[in-house]
């Protein structure tokens, strides 16, 4: 193991690891005063999550994020200052929104820009998480690729259709980067708790506690009351448990609020599968240590026999165009299904679109059942007003635009039974009425893949001369 950087906050050994979580999603913003209050507690690490599958598959497919460059820069700057001036490492997980090479490079340029503007020098490790399609195809052939529950099987064509495939890294590559003296670790796709768990695991603290604390801290102050992704928390982990405390004085953690957050976005609160093993929480205890801090004990990590990572890949489904329109006529609203069926038929007869391969036409009827679709219990209630979104998908943007346009004009002028309003059926709030949605994707890979070990897929790049990025670097 490489010698510990002499000025690292853990250089002389630690009884407990303190981790500052400035916020739950890089780019959402956080109060600087609360961040400063966190720095006053002498944290050993600052960690932040910068991505998720939540926003949809297009992020990974197109290589885009959901927060702006300006917001990312604003949020990163105080963290990088702490890394440079105080020697507190900063770990950013799932950089750029989805953690593919395009995302990581976007984030790397922002980091390099901040360092360069301030004349700061830092050792920056960039850990990529892209998986070559050939590697995934080979795993498919070997029987090493497994869909997660409710996920369709993938074939070779599906795998190769994905513009990018990423794997969720575990702690191993982050530990390697920290051991080699990284001031800043910019990670591609990461299992959410790993940017928090890597340092304590590296220092010999129990993995179960480290992962569980990371699972909660990666959402910022969402486990507090009132909850917020855009506020700071501090976590303190020892060998028997960990304590969570919000840094905003108006927030508090209670055993119930923290326990409730443990459930969040997970299908099984008692067992959370991750890279290399499961986080097991069935024996957890949540106890108040003050009126605003909670101690958690009993979290365990069970390593699995084979090391599996989760893959994510988005495959293109075509292009989208939409039109937004309002309906206020009670006669038409009462016969809405008839009208929509007729429009669907008209697009087939006149345009030769719907039903053809690569085309799709949906009508989202807000005020009736657009949110829940067939699960809507009140679908048969007749509203006084309905908002219709015409959702047209085609093999090219031009095709989608044409289908949307045809569906819009057909619905505008459709003569339903009993129609008295012959001027037009729709109120368009906007001119132009139609909008291009660009390429549409679906999650085609949401599988686990067997790998040699936790380092196999995640190479570390060191950025800047001799690992230092400063004014000279960019």
């Amino acid at each position: 193991m490489t010698a510990v950087h002499p000025e690292r906050p853990w250089a002389n050994g630690v009884e407990a690891v303190r981790i500052l979580a400035p916020l739950g999603m890089l780019g959402y913003g956080y109060p600087l005063a609360h961040f400063e209050a966190g720095l006053a507690r002498d944290p050993h690490l600052i960690a932040v999550d910068a991505g998720s599958t939540d926003g949809g598959p297009h992020k990974l497919g197109k290589g885009v994020g959901i927060v702006s460059e300006a917001a990312t820069r604003r949020d990163l700057e105080p963290m990088l200052r702490a890394a440079v001036e105080r020697g507190i490492p900063v770990v950013v997980g799932t950089a750029g929104g989805s953690g593919s090479r395009l995302h990581v490079e976007w984030a790397r340029r922002i980091v390099a820009g901040i360092l360069s503007d301030h004349g700061w020098a830092a050792r920056v490790a960039v850990i990529d998480a892209d998986v070559p399609p050939d590697r995934v195809v080979a795993a498919l052939a070997e029987g090493d690729l497994r869909p997660l529950r409710a996920v369709p099987e993938a074939d070779e064509a599906t795998i190769r259709a994905c513009p990018a495939i990423v794997a969720q890294m575990g702690v191993e590559p982050i530990v390697a980067a920290l051991e080699q003296g990284a001031d800043i670790v910019l990670c591609g796709r990461s299992y959410d708790p790993t940017m928090f768990a890597a340092l304590p695991i590296m220092l010999g603290f129990p993995a179960g506690l480290a992962f569980h604390m990371g699972k909660i801290l990666e959402c910022g102050a969402q486990c507090a009351i009132p909850g917020a992704a855009s506020d700071c928390m501090i976590g303190t982990l020892d060998h028997e448990g960990f304590v969570l405390e919000p840094l905003g004085p108006e927030r508090r953690c209670t055993p119930t609020s923290v326990a409730a957050h443990t459930l969040y976005e997970k299908s099984d609160p008692a067992r959370l599968p991750g890279p290399g093993g499961d986080l097991v929480l069935d024996q957890c205890r949540f106890e108040a240590v003050s009126d605003r801090a909670v101690r958690v004990t009993g979290s365990r990590f069970e390593p699995s026999d084979e090391y599996r990572v989760k893959l994510e890949g988005s495959a293109p489904e075509g292009y989208r165009a939409i039109c937004i329109a309002g309906l206020r006529d009670p006669q038409m609203i009462a016969r809405l299904d008839e009208c929509l069926d007729a429009v669907r038929k008209a697009t087939q007869e006149f345009g030769g679109f719907a039903g053809e391969a690569g085309f799709g036409l949906n009508f989202l009827c807000y005020g009736r059942d657009a949110v829940l679709g067939e699960s809507e219990p009140l679908r048969d209630a007749v509203p006084h007003e309905v908002g219709v979104v015409i959702d047209a998908v085609g093999p090219t943007q031009t095709d989608a635009d044409a289908l949307c346009s045809l569906a819009r004009s057909s619905l505008l002028h459709y003569h339903y039974t009993g129609r008295k309003a012959t001027g037009g059926n729709l109120a368009f709030p906007f001119a132009p009425s139609d909008f291009q949605g660009g390429p549409v994707f679906r999650f085609a890979l949401y599988h686990t893949m067997k790998v040699r070990d936790g380092l196999e897929l995640f190479p570390i790049r060191w950025i800047g001369e001799e690992g230092k990025v400063g004014r000279a670097a960019e």
């Binding site: 459930l263 957890c284 549409v440």
Partner: protein, 106 residues
């Protein structure tokens, strides 16, 4: 006399658990309400499938987590998050059919 689930629970929320499942969390302030709800015939797989007007095989789990006094219901999505035909990319509004479910007195 019964009560609506939304009157009995402190939190009812839904969110994606990965892009192919929606997970619904129902959290209770007190043990009695939690115990009453978890025994209710209104929260069996069949009853939940009926509330959502979906086939029962889309109700993947009904789990209980004592530390949070929580009931968790996992549903298989009709369309994966953000794909064509999806209506709720984050799955954040898919708790609504449970609000009016009637829970009988213990």
């Amino acid at each position: 006399m019964g009560a609506r689930l939304s009157d009995l629970a402190a939190v009812i929320r839904s969110k994606n658990a990965g892009p192919f499942e929606v997970t619904v969390d129902i959290l209770f302030e007190d043990e009695a309400a939690f115990a009453r709800a978890r025994q209710s015939p209104a929260l069996t797989p069949k009853a939940i499938a009926d509330a959502y007007r979906m086939p029962e095989d889309r109700v993947l789990d009904i789990l209980f987590y004592e530390p949070a006094r929580a009931i968790k219901i996992n549903l298989r999505r009709a369309a994966s998050s953000g794909s064509t035909g999806d209506t709720d990319v984050y799955g954040a509004q898919h708790y609504a059919p449970l609000l009016d479910v009637q829970i009988d007195d213990a």
